[in-house]
Every structure is written in structure tokens, then in C-alpha cells.
């Protein structure tokens, strides 16, 4: 039974929500009805010279409306192309891909850093338990913050100190004395490394969402591996595939 779909989706809205950061809603019933928080989709470029899919996390899911929200930063030629599309245009998409977050615990800490913030939104919506949301930004372009505030307590860090705690998400957690029994996090690798250590010290579990360059997106090509603590049943070496075994891993299972 297929639970991933390659489709051409209608763009129902596309707006710039912060400098170089875009929010796009696409209509794709099958993906919307199968997706869950922490999964991602692959977007395809129209430019003939750009062949590889661009993995983008699912930011929000509206299964009834059959739509998905994707929030992306313009990082290179592919995301630039996406940013120039318009409502009413079509885009090729493949998903939902990856495993997604696994709900657990009673008091969750959700941590998003930079362009790792968007996937935490759907997670915040779908987690029923008590939760604190920690968002790390570069500066005061606080995209999505208000939407998170409707879903739980929000603490913010900014690198330049222009809002909230100056520094990174760990600084914000310490400053606000945030505690919990499970961490969910997505963001740059140094941040995830810090969170892994923090969780270890606190003796709590952490689910971390990783990034790696991808080709197939479904576990066949072995482009996107990360190092795993234990031998993966599939690869038989200490590698896990971010696209298929992840992108979400328990902190103790991976070496980052």
C-alpha cells in the first residue's frame, strides 16, 4: 500500500513572511491525509538544469482541506525558483517522506532553531500534552512566533539579542528554567549537538530532526546517511538514512 505520493500540487497561497522566508500552502489531498508532524516532502524545480528534489519539512497539515503548509528560506537556485511561483501555479511534490516525530511524554519541550522552526508548528498542534516552545532566531524577524503563541508557552532567543534571550535556544531554556520529560528539536547541527548534551545531562529523551543532502528521498541511494550508534538493520554498518530512518532520531541513537 502506497503511503507516499508523487503529484503535481496547486499552490493555494504563497507569501513572504520574513526577509527571504516564504510560506506556501499547496493542495495535495493524498499527501495531506497521510502526513504527520516531522515528516517532509520533496519539491521539484521546473528549471531543467536542477534535477534533484529539495526536501522541505511539513509545517502544517490540513487533512480536511487537503492542504499542506511549507515554510522555506531562499538558500539557493531551487528555493529561489519556488519563491517566484505564485498562487495558482503548480509544483511537483513527493511525500510524505520520513518517519516524523513520535508523540511521547507528559511535558514536552519543543525547540526550533532558524529554518528548523516550521516543522515544530504542526508538532505543537498535534501534541496533546503540556508543552513549552523554544524558538531560536537570528534577529528580530520572528516568523511564525505568533502562531506558536496560540499553542503553548513560547520562549525566544535571538543571536543578536534584539528580542528575548540573547544567544541560542539553550540559553533561553536555562534563562527561563524550562523543564520537561521529552525534547523535540529541529535546527542546525551545532544546536542539535547542544541539545543532545543537555538532554543527556538532564537524563531525558530527545528526538532530533536532521538534515542531509538527498537524492532519492526514500532510502534507496544511500546519499543521506548519518552515523548511528548501533548497526542499522538495513545497512549493516553504523549508518542510518536521514530520509527513511529519519529525519527524526532519538539523540542517543546517533553521533552528531
Amino acid at each position: 500500500m502506497a503511503d507516499k505520493f508523487r503529484a503535481t500540487a496547486l499552490i493555494t497561497s504563497l507569501i513572504e513572511i520574513a526577509d527571504g522566508i516564504y510560506s506556501m500552502w499547496i493542495k495535495e489531498k493524498e499527501i495531506a491525509s497521510h502526513a504527520k508532524a516531522g515528516q517532509f516532502v520533496s519539491l521539484y524545480c521546473k528549471a531543467g538544469q536542477l534535477l534533484l528534489p529539495r526536501p522541505i519539512s511539513i509545517c502544517e497539515i490540513d487533512p480536511e482541506g487537503g492542504t499542506l503548509r511549507l515554510v522555506f528560506r531562499v538558500a539557493g537556485s531551487g528555493t529561489r525558483e519556488f519563491s517566484l511561483l505564485q498562487q495558482g501555479d503548480f509544483i511537483d511534490v513527493f511525500g510524505p517522506l520520513g518517519n516524523g516525530f513520535m508523540p511521547m511524554g507528559k511535558k514536552a519541550i519543543l525547540i526550533g532553531g532558524g529554518i528548523g522552526i516550521p516543522p515544530m508548528l504542526q508538532l505543537a498542534k498535534s501534541l496533546e500534552c503540556e508543552k513549552t516552545i523554544v524558538l531560536g532566531y537570528r534577529d528580530k524577524e520572528l516568523f511564525l512566533k505568533e502562531e506558536f503563541e496560540l499553542l503553548g508557552k513560547v520562549c525566544v532567543s535571538t543571536e543578536d539579542g534584539s528580542y528575548g534571550t540573547k544567544g541560542n535556544v539553550i540559553n533561553a531554556i536555562t534563562e527561563n528554567k524550562i523543564d520537561g520529560d521529552i525534547i523535540f528539536a529541529c535546527g542546525p547541527t551545532p544546536m542539535l549537538r547542544g541539545i543532545k548534551q543537555f538532554a543527556q545531562e538532564k537524563g531525558i529523551k530527545a528526538q532530533l530532526s536532521l538534515e542531509e543532502k538527498m537524492a532519492c528521498g526514500i532510502g534507496a541511494c544511500l546519499a543521506c546517511v548519518c552515523q548511528s550508534e548501533r548497526k542499522d538493520h538495513h545497512t549493516n554498518v553504523n549508518n542510518k538514512r536521514v530520509c527513511k530512518d529519519g529525519p527524526v532520531f532519538f539523540a542517543e541513537d546517533i553521533t552528531i
Partner: protein
């Protein structure tokens, strides 16, 4: 319309196979592709023991193509034989096992283990540009091509496909060496060695520095080599390198290929193999060609 083709006595339902390393052993793609409709599945390269492969980043996009330096990560023979062969056996398709090794003995060990397995063809990868030992080192010298081919032929129970590297001065010389060594079929081309530099990071885009270039960018080189080799030797050829649609596949067959493999296109569309097969059938229909074999080498 007949789509069946014959590779060294092994009949394929149609000429469309998957390029090694881009399709795993088919399990992941079986959600999107009816494996029964493929002429054959060529599996990811497998060695006698597990290989960890290269550090990441392992891939990078280039203009109309991509670089990869996976480094032949594979779970080793044992897992492969237990898990992948029984999986593929469930389908009405040919099982073509791609074999890699660091030494001639490594290759032979795998080939020996496969003797009693329900495998249809062996594809020997002597052309991987992304590993320090073995791989391409065997494929760039006619003497070693002939030598390793004949060593493998001596123990192989299945027909042997030698997969050649395009990173050579004279592809025909390598093809003739493989023929002299007893090869039954030739696969070409593997990837062209390339490099990409991230000018903002002033660093190599791949951890391995160099990688193998694949995709439509390399198609003209691949078609040229298929054509030249088809004139130089009598062996059937599996052609590959940048096949994105049915027309590309037809082009390879006209150049002299008996079957074709689809690699990078799978990443652009997981159903690419099926579109390619359909495109080939449409071409034949439109041109009133009854048998796909008629166009092989017709140019």
C-alpha cells in the same frame, strides 16, 4: 509488439533495467514501480563484507546532472543473500547483481557465493570512481580488465556483465579486453569523474572531493561510447547515462544497446522507469515497429 530482448541467453521482458546504486534492491521503489514490469533490477553494488562508504556530503547537484561519492556502502553478502534476493524473487523480473570488491579475491568470493543463488546475471563493477582500492583501478587498464574478467568467468555460474568506466582514453580497448577475458555482456557507462567547489565555503562540495557525474549532462558521452563499443565487439550492451525518457532510451538502442539502465532519473521521478518503458512503446507504435530488436544499432 515485442519488447523482449536477450542478454547472453537471458531473456528480459523488456529492455528497461535499473542502474546499480540508484534503486537499492528495489524494495523502496516497489511502492511506485511495479517491479514485474521491469526488464530487470540491477542491485546496488555488494561486496563480500559490509562497507561503510564515504563520509557525507555524498552528493552534489550540477548543471543537468549530479555528482555522487557514496563509496559503495553496502551491507555485505550475507544480508544481501538473506534479504534482497528472496525479496526480488517474488517478482517476474530478472535479478542482476552488481558486484564490487577491493581485490580480485573479494569479487570472486561474492561471485562464488552467488553460484547457487537464483540470480540471472552478474554485473561486475570495475568502474566505481569513488573508492580508493578496487573499483575504477581495475577498469582503466586493459590487462587488468581482461585478467579480472577471466578470473570471474572461471567461477561464475551466471553470465557475466562487465561494467566499464568512461574515464579512459579508449573505451574500445577496454571493451575488447573484457571480451577477451570472456565477458558475456558489457554495461556502459559508469559515471565520469567530476568535482564541485562551493565558492562561498571555499570547500569541496563532496567530502570525498571528487565524485561520479551522472544524469542527462553525460548522455552524449554515453551514446558515443555505446556506439563505438558496439562496432568494436560482438557482445550485447546495456547502455546507460542520462536516460530521462523513452526517446533517450531509443537513442541508446539505436546506438547499439540491447538493454538500457535508468539511474539518476529515478531521483527526479520515482516512476521514471515506467514512463520510459511507456515512452519506448509509444515510439515503436508511432513508427510501426513490431519488434524492439529491429532498432538495435540501426543508425
Amino acid at each position: 509488439m515485442n519488447m523482449k530482448v536477450n542478454l547472453a541467453g537471458v531473456e528480459l521482458n523488456n529492455p528497461v533495467t535499473t542502474a546499480s546504486g540508484t534503486f537499492g534492491s528495489g524494495a523502496e521503489y516497489s511502492e511506485f514501480v511495479d517491479l514485474n514490469k521491469l526488464g530487470g533490477v540491477v542491485t546496488k553494488g555488494v561486496a563480500n563484507i559490509p562497507w561503510t562508504g564515504n563520509p557525507t556530503p555524498r552528493i552534489a547537484e550540477t548543471y543537468g546532472g549530479m555528482l555522487n561519492a557514496i563509496g559503495l556502502q553496502n551491507p555485505g553478502m550475507d544480508v544481501f543473500v538473506e534479504r534482497d534476493i528472496p525479496f526480488l524473487k517474488e517478482f517476474d523480473t530478472r535479478i542482476i547483481v552488481n558486484v564490487c570488491g577491493k581485490t580480485a579475491e573479494d569479487y570472486c568470493e561474492v561471485v562464488e557465493r552467488l553460484q547457487e543463488q537464483p540470480v540471472d546475471l552478474l554485473e561486475i563493477n570495475i568502474s566505481c570512481p569513488n573508492v580508493k582500492e578496487g573499483g575504477i583501478a581495475f577498469g582503466q587498464n586493459p590487462k587488468s580488465v581482461e585478467e579480472i574478467t577471466s578470473k570471474i568467468k572461471r567461477i561464475a555460474k551466471q553470465p557475466v556483465i562487465m561494467k566499464l568506466s568512461p574515464n579512459v582514453t579508449d573505451i574500445c580497448e577496454m571493451a575488447k579486453a573484457a571480451e577477451a577475458g570472456g565477458a558475456d555482456v558489457l554495461s556502459l557507462i559508469n559515471t565520469l569523474t567530476g568535482m564541485k567547489i562551493d565558492i562561498n565555503k571555499r570547500a569541496f562540495a563532496l567530502a570525498n572531493k571528487t565524485g561520479g557525474l551522472s544524469g542527462p549532462a553525460i548522455k552524449p558521452v554515453a551514446v558515443r561510447m555505446v556506439y563505438q563499443v558496439s562496432k568494436a565487439v560482438k557482445l550485447p550492451i546495456i547502455g546507460m547515462g542520462g536516460i530521462m525518457n523513452g526517446e533517450d532510451a531509443i537513442e541508446f538502442m539505436m546506438a547499439g544497446a540491447t538493454a538500457i539502465s535508468v539511474g539518476t532519473a529515478n531521483f527526479v521521478n520515482p516512476g521514471a522507469t515506467m514512463n520510459i518503458l511507456q515512452g519506448m512503446e509509444e515510439y515503436l507504435k508511432k513508427n510501426h515497429i513490431e519488434d524492439i530488436n529491429e532498432i538495435i544499432g540501426c543508425v
